[in-house]
Symmetry: C2
Subunit: 116 residues, 2 copies
DNA sequence: AGTCTATTTAGCTTTTTAGCTAATAAACTA
DNA sequence: TAGTTTATTAGCTAAAAAGCTAAATAGACT
């Protein structure tokens, strides 16, 4: 379970329009876990999920996007893995699940108004 | 529905340990919507939910907490209402619900691995 | 009016962040 | 081995954030 500091870091990572857009884009990407287990012949999918391709969607320099990705990674929102000279990006679904549950919990535990 | 900018502002507001703690504390507070519809005789509850009481839980100056509350308010995470010379704070449950659903949606729409 | 209480706003300092370009590293290609 | 591609790191600047104290505002109480 993420502690308060980790949660704050995570929200902070999502708390910038560019990073939020990047994260949403990563969520929409073809799922590439298979790649990490050695599946072959998926070059197109790989192409779609590497750092440069992500960066090309934004009007910022590659180093800038790289730094944003680093922050998302340190918040455990995404994972990155280098294969050859490219680095592939995928969402960290465990963390996403944890946040989702965190908000459900908040909502469930709110003090309800007595009369309604 | 919150647009991307609004969501980023919201996450940013939660993206600081102190504000996250404040927000969690507000969620735990006695629900005081009744106050805003004119219910009387709930001084203890009111006491528990005013700015000064919240501030007293933290090792920061009152102005600092006031600014944090302002940011939470502008992100629509909390609502504040002045009654007499005190200002009462309560969570904005609509927004909380929206974020919760937002994460559920993210989780539901993620591309699943082909093989599993 | 004068004072007390509760909170915000103003003004300041220090730290952090977001962007850039240039330099570096690592891996592929010829 | 030299050159190319891919991405990170370094180093810089400008803008934003987080903290403080002091001053201002607003309402309640004499």
């Amino acid at each position: 379970m993420l502690d308060l500091e980790a949660k704050a870091r995570l929200f902070k990572a999502l708390g910038h329009p560019t990073r939020l857009r990047i994260y949403k884009q990563v969520l929409q990407m073809p799922y590439v876990c298979g790649i990490h287990q050695g599946t072959e012949g998926e070059d197109l999918i790989r192409q779609a999920t590497c750092v440069g391709t992500i960066a090309s969607e934004f009007n910022y320099s590659l180093p800038t996007i790289s730094r944003h990705l680093k922050e998302l990674r340190e918040a455990r929102l995404i994972r990155m893995e280098k294969i050859g000279n490219k680095i592939y990006v995928e969402p960290d679904l465990e963390t996403l699940k944890e946040i989702s549950e965190c908000f459900e919990g908040m909502l469930a535990n709110v003090n309800s108004p007595a009369g309604s």
